[in-house]
Symmetry: C2
Subunit: 287 residues, 2 copies
């Protein structure tokens, strides 16, 4: 798509299905990139990977009310559709699907999808109901678009594993593709919520990723998980974070706790910096 092309913005399931059907009729493969908007280079990596795996990429932008808790940032979550559309256009997306809450959850809506196992622990503890909200909206988006492939960032690693499990369990006919985290040059994982950080907090934030790397090195060297992650938590707190929700070594696929790095693992962290909750994670392979 050339830069001067106007990006189609779709508001209804009918419009979405029509454009997908048109592309399919032309023999084209379709990728879906579900987002909550406030797009950044991390999302654009999903679009770029989508264009490698398919001929057309639809990005969806929907700030999903049912995945936010009562004291979370639903109302303040950044919304800037015009900027998002411009970024998507210049990165080669073929359409933006931006439904209203009424389209997604009309009067009488009453279905919930819950995923056991991978949803429990980690963010499932501090954000009860969050992953049911994610699983429900992602199922809807996948069944509305029926893309060939859908792309999700590894930044939300637990979410990615929940979606993999859910799509497999429900036999949703789509390939789920995880895309590596995109980072600032100082290591901070890109996130729409980084916009909440003050200048001082922003200077502190890269400590999260540095600590993941240091804890990872300890685990690879053979230190047990309890000891290595306790050290990591104290580092993060000493560096200026207010609290650590978790810093855990998990099995990379099932997300079950690991005592040590005896198989492919994932080190996951959630910590609070001022009023902002940041998450990050790092894949680790045993030596």
């Amino acid at each position: 798509m050339s830069p001067e092309t106007v990006l189609p913005i779709l508001r209804s399931v009918t419009e979405l299905r029509r454009i997908v059907a048109d592309w399919r009729r032309d023999g084209l493969k379709v990728a879906l990139v579900p987002t909550m908007g406030a797009l950044h280079a991390g999302h654009m990596a999903l679009v770029a990977r989508g264009l490698e795996l398919a001929d057309r990429v639809i990005a969806s932008v929907f700030v999903n009310p049912i995945q936010f808790g009562p004291n979370e940032d639903f109302s303040s979550y950044p919304r800037r559709e015009a900027q998002d559309a411009a970024l998507l256009t210049s990165n080669g997306a073929g359409a933006l699907y931006a439904p209203s809450a009424d389209v997604m959850y009309p009067e009488g809506f009453s279905t919930t999808i819950s995923v056991g196992g991978v949803s429990e622990g980690l963010c499932g503890v501090t954000r009860p109901g969050h992953f049911s909200g994610v699983a429900t909206v992602v199922t809807k988006l996948l069944l509305q678009a029926l893309p060939d492939v859908a792309l999700f960032g590894e930044k939300d690693y637990q979410q990615l594993q929940v979606i993999r499990r859910m799509a497999s369990d429900l036999d949703i006919p789509v390939r789920i593709e995880g895309v590596p985290i995109v980072r600032e040059t100082d290591g901070l994982a890109l996130s729409s919520r980084n916009a909440y950080l003050s200048a001082t907090e922003r200077a502190t934030a890269p400590l999260l990723y540095k600590t993941l790397q240091d804890v990872g090195a300890r685990l690879i060297a053979g230190e047990d998980a309890v000891s290595a992650t306790a050290w990591g938590k104290s580092e993060v707190l000493a560096g200026g974070f207010g609290s650590v929700d978790y810093l855990d070594l998990r099995d990379a696929s099932s997300l079950k706790p690991l005592d040590s790095l005896d198989r492919p693992g994932r080190l996951l962290v959630a910590a609070r910096l001022g009023r902002t909750r940041l998450i990050d994670n790092l894949g680790l392979l045993p030596r």
Copy 2:
């Protein structure tokens, strides 16, 4: 399909999707009739209606473990695949999909779909978890086959409303079609569970439908629901049923309780005859 044709029996999602894709490539519409087997004329009415709405009908037979409670009849539920296949063949079905429990629920399966509102009350009280089990397996069957239309009997009226709600809420791209109850000449609704009845119980069983008709006549005449259904319960108990789980007048669509027949209603009953639980229902329009 001529009577001498051998009905394809599909065991895997891959085989199922292949036959559906083959038919689609030929421009044919596909209907799915999900069943738990032990097929009778009620199921054949679903097949017949499927053949009116589509070019090919697939019946699925799967006794779904997750919709049975711990003290229910999962292990004794009748299973007779050869008879089912013969009946399907002679009634024009194009394939039988009969997956194993391992195909439907492989190791690690951990996703549940729950539907609020219409699942609550009625059978939702005496069979906790039942409708989640139904919603989960029906979603899987629909997404495995992706038919144009799926057919369900009005015999399980609450189940039908749960499935309509779930398919709409999740944007499953399929038409859900309800098919009227098929009855014996004495009025007993056909059910695989009628096979559990002794000769004496079988003679008593038609009282359930007769009572629905009588209660319906009272409601149409203007009697309030509490009084009319109380009379109906006493009739059923006096006639030899051991207990009545419920006999309720509900809104025909939302299944919310009605005080009187001031809009399209559904009269629903579940009662126990010996060790067998029978259900039935009747649509009622205000005078």
